[in-house]
């Protein structure tokens, strides 16, 4: 009895994250009917996960965001690629410089 109680305590975290197979979840729920402390742990931890998800809806990633990031990316990549190891003026001898 104590052993299974201990096992159920360990399964609470998996239950909260929705990671338990259905049969095991049912078994845990059944156990919680006779163990109010276990029931409270299960209910509050699962509700915590639900509230976290509800409070953080997936941020919108529309075309505007996509394009803004792409522009930033290509601008910075362009700057990076034009930074040559030698200053540009040393690469070419323009006629005006003799």
């Amino acid at each position: 009895m104590t052993e299974s109680k201990e096992l159920y305590r360990k399964l609470v975290d998996l239950y909260a994250g929705g990671e338990l197979p259905t049969e095991l979840e049912e078994e845990l729920r059944e156990a919680a009917r006779h163990d109010s402390e276990l029931g409270w742990e299960m209910a509050t931890l699962r509700r915590t996960v639900e509230l976290t998800k509800e409070a953080h809806p997936s941020p919108e990633f529309g075309e505007e965001s996509f394009q803004r990031i792409l522009i930033k990316l290509y601008t910075r990549a362009g700057q990076m690629q034009t930074q040559s190891p030698e200053p540009a003026h040393l690469q070419y001898h323009l006629p005006i410089q003799g």
Binding site: G17, R47, E54, H56, P59, F66, I69, K72
Partner: protein, 182 residues
């Protein structure tokens, strides 16, 4: 391997191969593949769109910088998230505090809005070692193994932090939780 993952994996291999051969236009392909996921992660870490967009652009720029060393060996996505994570942490250090999402559309009742802000604040107040596993596993729906890879910790350590984090969050939300369970 689910179909989407397989397709991502093939596309990743193709783009990384092209990038390694010096085709910088392949960067756009990699961005198209992972840009949205990295942006959502950065937004959840930083709490504002502008910084999240900046961190996303910088993450992919690092890909270009390291293009000759990259391999499509399954670890690329984890590496990408790790880069994004480090950039977010740097930004958080600069700003000191995480902002609450300001541009979220609250198309719901005042009560739900208050609940949402309370939960966002409670998550933002958690120590980083708890907040990060919650963001990766509960919000990004990342598998424990991949989240552990991003955080560079073992899977048992990740699970321990995740479980302790949920309990810490529950304790912060005690009053709110009791009302919402009724």
């Amino acid at each position: 391997m689910p179909n989407d993952d397989l397709q991502d994996s093939l596309a990743e291999k193709r783009w990384l191969g092209a990038l390694a051969k010096g085709d910088s236009s392949a960067l756009g392909g990699i961005y198209e593949l992972y840009g949205e996921r990295i942006f959502r992660y950065a937004y959840r870490m930083l709490g504002n769109r502008s910084d999240a967009e900046d961190a996303t652009a910088e993450t992919f720029l690092r890909v270009l910088r390291r293009s000759s060393e990259l391999r499509a060996d399954g670890a690329f996505r984890t590496w990408l998230f790790r880069i994004a994570r480090n950039l977010c942490i740097d930004k958080l250090r600069q700003h000191k505090l995480m902002e609450l999402p300001a541009d979220t559309q609250f198309a719901c009742s005042e009560e739900r809005t208050i609940l949402r802000i309370t939960v966002q604040q409670a998550l933002a107040d958690l120590p980083m070692e708890y907040r990060e596993p919650l963001v990766l596993c509960d919000l990004q729906d990342m598998a424990a193994r991949e989240a552990a890879g991003v955080l560079e910790i073992s899977v048992p350590a990740l699970k321990s932090r995740l479980y302790r984090g949920r309990r810490a969050l529950r304790d912060k939300l005690k009053g709110t939780m009791e009302r919402s369970l009724k």
